[in-house]
Structures are given as C-alpha cells and as structure tokens.
C-alpha cells in the first residue's frame, strides 16, 4: 500500500517543478501592454493591377494585386486595408478581375488555380483547379454582362486550354483543349451578343488561329487559320472589338489583323513610319478601347489611332517617363483613359476620352515628393459629382513602389509600400540630446505629471472608473518619451534603416515606426538605357564615438547596376540622421561578395572588402589611412566562398596588388584550400556563421559540480549543411533511404573540418542560426514525418585542463592568450535533436549588449509569427533524468519535442505576413533586446529573455512608492509623539 505513494509524490513534485520552470520561461505581454513597446505595420507591396468597385455598389474601394502576391481591398478615402490575402510565393497570381460586382476572381499558378473571394469582406467563396497543359501566360476574361443575369462565366485560357467557370460557385461549365500543336491562346474576345466568344491563338510564331466558340457550351462554331509572312513576337492587343494589333518578331512592325465573320485580313505597318526615334524595346501597352492603342518605346509613349486596318495615326507622344492607364468605360459608347507624365518636379495627369482623343478632359499638375521617383503605373477611376458631371481619380504607382491616390490635383493619401520588400536592415543611433536644443517638446509640467501618476495609482489600486482606465491606456500608448528624436539612456530609441527592393532607403523610428526620412537612391534607379540596378546590402559606414562625435554617423549602401552578377557595382554613402546622400560611387568592378572587416580607420570608418567576379578584393574606403590599417592586418585576413553551383567551399588569402591593375586598393587572392563535396551524394544547402557584431561575455561555461567547460569561440567557424541531391527538392520527393543531411563545422581560415554529423532520412529545407559556440538547425525528418531541430555545441578541449585554482588566481594560465586557427584544435562536440512542430521561415537569436543574458531563439514560423524559444530547450546536455545539480543548473528534462508555449509568441496576436527576416539589435540595457521582423508587414518589439532584471518596468508605480514612504514617515512621527506623551504621563504618575 505504501510503496507507490512516494513515487506518486515524487512525480507530482517533478511535474510541479517542470511546470514552475516552464512558467518562468514564458514571457508574454498582457492584453493592455500591446502597443506599448511594439508596433505592427501592414503593407501590400508594389501594385501591379487594380480594379475598382463599380459605382453602383456605393463603396469607394479598390482591389489591388501586388508583386508581393497580395490581394487587398483598399479604402479609397484613406488608403487603409479593408482585407488582405497574402498568397504563397510559389503560387504567383497572374491576374485579377471582378465578376458580377461582388466577387474578386484571381487566376494563379500559371492558370491552374482560380479562386473567388467575396468582395465586401474578403471571404473565400470557391477555389477551382484547372488542368492546363503548360505554364504560359494565362488569361482571365470575365464576361461583361450588361443584362442582369443570374450567372456569369469566367473564361480562363492557358496554352491550348480554355475553360469557362461559373463565377458563383466555381463549377467548370466546360473545358476545351484545342487539338493544335504549339497553340497558345493570346486573346479571348467577346462578341457584342453574349453567346459567342472568339479565341485568338498563335501556333508557332506565324500561324494565327481564330476560333469561334459558343460561350454556353464551348462548341467550336468556326475555325479559321491564317499564316503570316513574318514571325510574330507573341505580343498582341485588341485595338478595337474586331481588330487585333500584333508586334512582329523584330519589334519594328505591327500587324493589324481584322477578323470579320469568316475571314481574316491583315496589313503590316512599320513603326518607324509612325514614330521617330525608337530605341530600346518596343512594347504594346494594353489599352483596349475604341481604336486607340499605346506604344511604348524607351524614350516615348505614343498614342496611336487605328484607322481600320489601313493604318495608324499618331495622336500624341509623351516623353518618358510616362504611364498610360487602361481604358475605363464611362458610357455605352465612350471610354476614358489617363496619361501621366513628369513636368519638372511635378507630375501631370491627363484624362482623355477615346471618342475625342485630341482633346483633354482634365490636365492637372500634382506636386509629388521627389523621393518617389518616376511614375510607373496609373489606374483611372471615375465618380459622379453632385452636379452629375464626371470626376476622375487615379491610383499612381511610383518608382519607389509607393501607391498614391490623386484627385482634383492633390495627393489624397499615399502608402509607402516599398516597405513590403525589404532587402536588408541596419540600425543607427539617434542624435545625442544637447543642452538648449529642444528636439522634442519637453514633458508636461509637474502638475500633469503628478496627475498622470495619480491616475495610474488609481488604476493599480483598482479604483479607476472605465473612462479613467481608457485615459490611462491612451496615456501609456502615447507616451512621448519613446518617440523622441534623441538618444535615450536605455538605448531603446534608434533608427531602423531599411533598404527596399526599389532602391529606396527608409529610416524608421523604433518608438512608433514612423518614417523619419527616406531617400530613393539615384544610383539604384532604372536608367534610360534600360538596365535595372538592384540593391544588395546596407552596412554601417562610419559610427563616430568619442573623438569625432560632432560628425553624424553614416551608412553604406551597396548595389549592382544590372541584373547580371558581373555588372559593375554602385556604392552610396548616406547620412544616418538626415538621409542625405554624402557620396555616390560607380565602381569599375562587380560586386560578388562584401566582407565587412572588424577594422576601423582613424576617422572611425568601417573597412569593407568588396570581392568582384574575378576574385579580386577591393578595399573601401579608398584612403591611405584605411590602407595603412588594413595592410597591418592583411596577412591575417582570409576570404572564403561557398559556391553552391559548383558544390565547393574555397578559402583564399590576400596578396598585395592585382596582376593587371595598378590600383593600389585592389588585392588579388590566392586559393589556400577547398572542400569539394561529391556532387552525386551531397549538395550544399546552407552556410551560416555567427553575427559579426555579436558580443560574447565569457569563454567559460560553468556546469554542475562547479566544473568548467571552455567554449570554442571562433568567429571563423562556419556551419555548412549539405543534402543528398535526391532530397534537394520538395519534402516527400525522396524516400527516407535516399535522403540524408550532413552538417559540417568548418574553420574558414584553414579549411579544417572540425566536426561532421550525418542525419539519415533527413532533408531540407535547412534553416540554421549560429551564435557563441553553438549552431541550431532545422530540417525535415522523413522517417518520423516531422520537422526536427538539432543543436551542436562545440567546446575547446585544449583549455579544459585549466583547473588549477592557484594558477588561475595568479593569472598563470593560457586562457587569455590570443588564439590562432593554425594550432591544432582539440574540440569536443555535443549535439542533440528534437522534434519541432512547425516548418520555419527564418531563425535568429537574441543579441544583447554584453552577452550575459540568456539567449532565445527567434523562430519565424510558417504561420508568419515569431516564436521565442529559450536556448535552454536546445541544450545538448539535457537528459531524461537530470541529477540534482543539473536541475539546479537549470537543465530541463529531455523531451522528444520542443514545447511551443502559446505565451512565448513575440508577435502575440499579429502576423508578419510573408515573414522574411528577423533582426535582433542589442539595446544599452543588458536585459533587453530590440527585435525587428520584416516581410510584407513590419513588426517591432522589445524583448527581455530573462525578464528586465536591470530596470523597473514602465508599470512600476512611483506614486505608490512615494505614498508608501510618506505614509511610513508619518506613522513614525505620530508614533514617536505618542510614545513621548505616554512617557511623560508615566513620569507624572
């Protein structure tokens, strides 16, 4: 009877202990703390298509499709998002349309998936999978229904297939595959009477096929084929309801093709006859209207009027940059379109009617911020004014990916949607608060301060009314303290400087996420010659401390002037406080790798090495001072390259001066070592190193029994993972027997493999993070059908015998001697792996100012949330039954899976859609780190992995403390007086 009792008790105690230890690990925010230290911003990305609600619905909304694969419904009054769907990147949406005025129909994945959402609230209504032959440019055509009909058909054409889908329930009414080889349908045209549709397809490059189909049944009524003397490039548009305009292969001629009932007739027009000065590629802009087409060349946009098939007439030419909108049906007969062009620093919106193209209905000049760049797209919409006349508004998409609504010559609202595609992030300190310079409004007076604290006190003592609670909450959220433009004591206020895909650099304040400055870099803007530069990275350039404090810090932006990796690079130096471009440099070499060195010159410029495609390294900044600093360290500087295509890792040393160049800032490289992975068994999946800026507090790790282990802390440690070639694809594409993952720890100086471990039956995608002396990586276990996370910790065994206390006291040890990779390292490796529920988008680790605070892994989950997982859970020293000492040390009993504690979501209730990266920035307070997660959305918060042990929280009630002290003092005085009196009475007695 008795024996089982203690065991039960023990179990109970153990479970209680476990629960208690878990409770301390979870750090969540209360509901009323949301928004105090964190902010969340929603974006959609660069708009590529916009459709407006019909006027009849009475709602002023637009549905937009963006390049970030987002479908969103925007309020036209404010630009706010009503609803939004972020679709996976592997399911790219091609086209968007409205049907019956209440459904949003979107075609994605090369025409194979058709979805419909409810227009007002964004609920999905149906999804239909279509069988299409191959991925070609799919077309979506919604039957415009003038009569009130119950059903409306949506036509989808892709390759040889054409489908008619009911827009109410997504049922395929008919599908047809044209039995003609190499046919690609280019246009689906609806004839004025609804029952007939025409499908125009190209077979090969010169055979035009016209099918006449019954819209209800899909039966082919007619098929006409016509061959052309010269090849077509495939770009066609519909000039008017029965004239097709096609560009020929050389892009110098236009075919005007008329199909009239039975026959096809055509005529060829040379573009040069119409428009002079055609350079670059010519494009047809899809402006479907009454015989007006737009032709885009690199220097001009021309509007052409179609005169049957006899020829074309140029109406007007606009200098590039200019944009033309699609035609907008105003009345039965008439259509309007907009042209936007730049005039000086302003832009001009011109609205014309197709019936009278020579006249302009509206010509408005609009002032636009110069950092928005050129106009890229315009979407026109009309509204009926109170006096029944037509008013127009337009959505403009600018070069920096921002979206603006213009109406009556003014920008009504703008959205900074470039922030949906962040390439890289860095931070900058804010200016120091100087005496006499009032940067922000000084705090309210003492009375108000006291009033505020009294209110807070009321809240603490639960005496406050509902209204007062609301005031308290508003006060906390608005706290001007966190939004000041100066450096604070705790280092919470910083600038997050982000580089967007559009080449715009934007500085956000960490307090509330507002934009402090933005700069669209001239060097990263598309040039007239057509090359599209792109932004690569952003680095700290100069971080002044003591001596040059009067100088502003600056940042370096590295870009490439073309899509090719051999294209010359561009450098830009920006002032961190104002965003002004201090210096811009077009390099005469390409940028393949950028290596920020740990060195600084005398003016505190950070030294950077840029490696070009010829494996030459170039030193920046190009100053003799920097050169001196670098030459001193050059023999100890090495480069390594992880070449995924060639499946090899190479290490190089640097040598003075290049072979065929007298540029003294150029260094040639010499290959020292290489690790060639056998490509039939291994493919490099990932390589990861520690963050250069990471601070490590100590090299010793104290374990149970006061024992010491010395961490192998080398910044040159590279983690690389390879997967078997068969398992390189999607999960499930390989059998467990032919899938494996190998993890390597490599010294990047000598190329020595310090450790290698094979996970059989594992496959990618691999995500990894390295910090201090450990690496955590995430992969899929095919045998267990679950995701796994593994940890490798590496210890330095050669230092392990430093255990003599006398020697340590007297300092006679080799622990602080500089270490070199050329001494033979004796390492000890511990590893362990655990199941993990989620697939992962990104992993990062918290960074603190001194590296004392325990670390947390920041895991970007598939649900676009950021989960904070204590490093203690991924400790290879965990065991099923830890000893008493190990428990005291904080080792958690081993479980097969890592726990997901709902309260440890850093992003609490919000989602960072399309999560891409997580950055952790140390603050000056050791306990606290700043976390910035970006994707389509932005999220920022402060995180204290071991609680804020070094400061009082904001919630701390100073008023309560003061009142308590005052009450105590009063009590002391009163009791003293009483005791005096009593004593006196006693003496008189």
């Amino acid at each position: 009877m008795a024996p089982p009792q203690p065991r039960h008790l023990l179990l109970l105690l153990l479970s209680f202990l476990a629960a208690a230890s878990l409770a301390t690990l979870a750090a969540a925010v209360y509901e009323d703390q949301v928004g105090l230290a964190d902010w969340h911003q929603k974006y959609i990305g660069k708009v590529k298509q916009a459709v407006y609600h019909s006027q009849k619905s009475g709602r002023r909304r637009a549905v937009v499709l963006t390049e970030e694969n987002v479908i969103a419904s925007l309020d036209l009054r404010s630009g706010e998002i009503f609803w939004r769907h972020v679709i996976e990147k592997n399911d790219p949406i091609d086209q968007l349309s409205l049907s019956l005025g209440k459904y949003v129909v979107a075609l994605s994945s090369g025409g194979s998936i058709l979805r419909a959402w409810n227009l007002p609230d964004g609920q999905m209504i149906w999804e239909t999978n279509l069988q299409v032959s191959k991925s070609s440019k799919p077309l979506l055509h919604v039957l415009s229904n003038n009569k009130v009909a119950k059903d409306n058909l949506v036509f989808v054409s892709a390759g040889r297939w054409i489908y008619a889908v009911s827009s109410i329930d997504g049922v395929i009414s008919w599908g047809k595959e044209f039995s003609f080889d190499g046919l690609e349908i280019k246009q689906v045209v609806q004839s004025p009477d609804n029952d007939i549709i025409y499908a125009v397809g190209l077979a090969g490059s010169s055979k035009l096929n016209l099918y006449q189909l019954n819209a209800k049944t899909g039966e082919i009524a007619k098929h006409i084929q016509e061959s052309f003397p010269s090849a077509l490039c495939g770009e066609t548009i519909l000039g008017s309801h029965n004239v097709l305009v096609a560009l020929d292969e050389t892009r110098s001629g236009l075919f005007l093709i008329e199909f009239k009932g039975e026959s096809i007739s055509y005529n060829k027009v040379y573009i040069l006859d119409l428009v002079q000065d055609l350079s670059g590629t010519v494009k047809l802009l899809p402006l479907m209207s009454n015989g007006v087409i737009a032709l885009q060349a690199s220097s001009t946009v021309s509007l052409l009027k179609l005169k049957g098939i006899d020829g074309l007439e140029v109406i007007q030419s606009f200098e590039q940059p200019a944009a033309v909108s699609d035609a907008l049906t105003i009345t039965e007969k008439d259509e309007a379109f907009a042209v936007v062009q730049h005039v000086g620093s302003e832009i001009e919106l011109i609205v014309k009617f197709t019936s009278d193209v020579t006249n302009e209905f509206i010509r408005e000049k609009i002032n636009i911020d110069e950092h928005r760049g050129n106009i890229q797209k315009v979407f026109l919409n009309n509204y009926i004014r109170t006096d029944k006349s037509h008013g127009f508004r337009a959505l403009l998409v600018m070069e920096d990916h921002s979206l603006l609504l213009v109406q009556q010559g003014e920008v009504v609202w703008s959205r900074e949607d470039g922030l949906a595609s962040i390439v890289d992030v860095t931070t900058s300190e804010l200016p120091v608060e100087k005496d006499g310079v009032s940067v922000a409004k000084v705090e309210h007076n003492l009375f108000e301060w006291l009033k505020g604290h009294m209110l807070k006190l009321k809240g603490t003592l639960m005496l406050a009314s509902v209204d007062e609670l609301a005031v308290i909450q508003a006060m906390r959220l608005k706290s001007s303290e966190k939004n000041k433009m100066t450096r604070d004591h705790n280092g919470f206020r910083k600038l997050l400087i982000v580089l967007t895909k559009a080449g715009k650099v934007i500085a956000l304040h960490t307090g509330d996420g507002r934009i402090i400055w933005s700069n669209l870099l001239q060097s990263l803007r598309a040039s007239k010659s057509g090359e599209i530069p792109f932004a690569l990275r952003i680095y700290q350039w100069q971080v002044p401390h003591h001596r040059v404090m009067h100088e502003n810090p600056s940042i370096l932006i590295v870009g490439r002037s073309g899509a090719d990796s051999a294209a010359p690079g561009v450098l830009s130096v920006l002032d961190s406080y104002s965003g002004e471009e201090l210096n811009s440099l077009r390099l005469d070499h390409s940028v393949v790798q950028i290596i920020p060195l740990t060195l600084e010159d005398s003016s505190e410029h950070r030294l950077q090495l840029i490696v070009d495609s010829h494996s030459h390294a170039h030193l920046y900044p190009r100053s003799p001072d920097a050169m001196n600093v670098f030459l001193h360290e050059m023999p100890n500087t090495y480069l390594y390259t992880v070449d995924i295509e060639k499946n090899v890792i190479r290490g190089h040393s640097l040598q003075k001066s290049c072979h065929n160049s007298d540029d003294e800032y150029c260094f040639s490289t010499k290959e020292l070592w290489s690790i060639v992975f056998p490509s039939d068994t291994e493919r490099i999946a990932i390589s990861e190193t520690r963050k250069m800026s990471e601070v490590v507090h100590t090299q010793a790790k104290i374990i149970a029994d006061q024992d010491v282990m010395y961490k192998y802390l080398s910044k040159n440690l590279v983690f690389a993972a390879t997967v078997s070639p068969k398992a390189a694809g999607e999960i499930g594409s390989a059998a467990p027997e032919e899938a494996w993952l190998m993890a390597y720890l490599i010294d990047a100086v000598t190329g020595r493999i310090l450790h290698r471990v094979t996970h059989h039956g594992a496959q990618g995608p691999v995500h990894a993070v390295a910090s201090e002396n450990w690496v955590v990586y995430h992969y899929f276990n095919l045998r267990a059908h679950r995701f796994e996370m593994a940890v490798i910790e590496i210890y330095d065994q050669s230092r392990a015998d430093n255990k003599d206390i006398m020697k340590l006291i007297l300092g006679k040890h080799n622990l602080s001697a500089p270490i070199t990779s050329y001494t033979r390292p004796e390492v000890m490796v511990k590893s362990q792996s655990y199941f993990f529920t989620f697939s992962v988008k990104a992993i990062a680790v918290t960074q603190t100012a001194k590296g004392i605070t325990t670390k947390q892994l920041l895991i970007g989950t598939i649900g676009d949330q950021v989960l904070a997982l204590d490093k203690r859970f991924v400790d290879p020293r965990r065991s099923v039954n830890p000893t008493q000492q190990e428990k005291e040390e904080g080792i958690i009993p081993l479980t097969d899976a890592l726990p997901i504690i709902p309260t440890s979501y850093v992003t609490h209730s919000v989602q960072v859609e399309a999560l891409q990266g997580i950055v952790s920035i140390p603050s000056k307070l050791e306990s606290t780190t700043l976390v910035f997660a970006y994707g389509v959305d932005l999220f920022y918060t402060q995180l204290a992995p071991s609680r804020t042990y070094d400061s009082l929280t904001d919630e701390f009630s100073y008023a309560l403390l003061l009142i308590t002290i005052a009450a105590l003092v009063a009590a002391i005085v009163v009791s003293w007086i009483w005791s005096e009196k009593k004593e006196l009475r006693d003496k008189w007695r």
């Binding site: 990796s565 100890n636 490590v696 090299q699 010793a700 010491v708 910044k715 255990k803 050329y822």
Partner: protein, 178 residues
C-alpha cells in the same frame, strides 16, 4: 552574590571610639580608621591564604571563560546542520553569525580576560585556548560558507567572467550575392 563574597576587603572605617586601648599617651584621638596596633600576624596569614584562594579561583574562572566558546561551537554546528546546504535567508544568517561571533570574540579577547588579570595568574594558556576555540568556530563558519558555495574555491569561480581571447585571424565571406 557569590562574586561579592570572594572579593578582598580593601578598606573599612571604624566609626566608634577606641581610645580606651592604647591611645593614652596622646590626647589627640587617632584619625578615624587609624589603628595603632601592628598588623596581626594571624591576620596576615589569613590574608595570604585568602589571596591564594583568590588566585586559584581566578585561574579556574579564566579556564572556564576560555572553554565557553566550545559550547557555542557545538550549538553552531547543530544550527548549521539544521540550516541545510542551500543558500537562503536562514542559512546565510546562521553562517554569517557563525563567522561574526568568533571575530568579535577575538577582538575583545583582552577584555574578556581583564577581570582575571593578576601577576600571579597565568592567563596565557586560557587565552590561547579561547583563541583556538574561536578560530575553530570561525573555521566552521568558513566551511559552512564553502558548502553553501560562496567561497571562490573552484576553478569556475575564477574563470566565470573570463572574456574570450582575441583571435589572430579573420575570415569573411559566405555565399556570393546573386
């Protein structure tokens, strides 16, 4: 009470007249308290005896005082055993009092043996015993401190905040930018 009995009488005043004895040759009475008669030999012997017993008593007392910390030591040991080996308020209090008591006792060692100061009493040995016992008590305290893990006696205590050593080489790179 006992204490008062053992002490030797230093002086006494005889206030009533004793002129009838041997003060005839002078009309002037002796000053009060003056006895003309020579000290009695018997009296002197008694005094010596008294003094001897006093010395013995002093020596005995000194030894007693010297041994007093031993009891303390036993009690402390028991308290420490009760306090356990984890660091908390009680064990810290016990340990620090165990350390403080011997120190304060050692500082006042001369004061403690002050009453037994006598040229004929040898207080050195009791003093030494006293000191030794107190040192033992202090040792016990230190040992307790160590069992609590508050003494830097392990290697870990000397390296726990040892900064990472500098690396000579620096390697940078990674996957080329695409």
């Amino acid at each position: 009470m006992e204490k008062g009995k053992g002490l030797a009488r230093r002086w006494a005043v005889e206030l009533h007249d004793t002129s009838s004895s041997s003060s005839s040759h002078s009309s002037v009475p002796d000053p009060p308290g003056f006895t003309r008669s020579a000290p009695d030999a018997d009296d002197a012997a008694g005094a010596r005896q008294r003094k001897d017993s006093e010395t013995a008593w002093k020596a005995q007392k000194a030894w007693e005082v010297a041994q007093a910390p031993f009891k303390n030591l036993m009690m402390m040991g028991f308290m420490m055993w009760m306090a356990g080996s984890t660091v908390h308020l009680f064990s810290i209090g016990i340990t620090f009092s165990a350390l403080w008591q011997p120190i304060s006792a050692l500082r006042s060692v001369s004061k403690v043996f002050e009453p037994f100061k006598d040229p004929r009493v040898d207080t050195l040995a009791p003093k030494l015993l006293f000191i030794a016992l107190n040192l033992a008590a202090m040792g016990l305290g230190v040992w307790k401190l160590n069992t609590l893990g508050l003494l830097p006696t392990n290697a870990s205590d000397w390296v726990f905040s040892l900064a990472p050593s500098r690396e000579v080489e620096y390697a940078g790179g990674g996957i080329p930018l695409h």
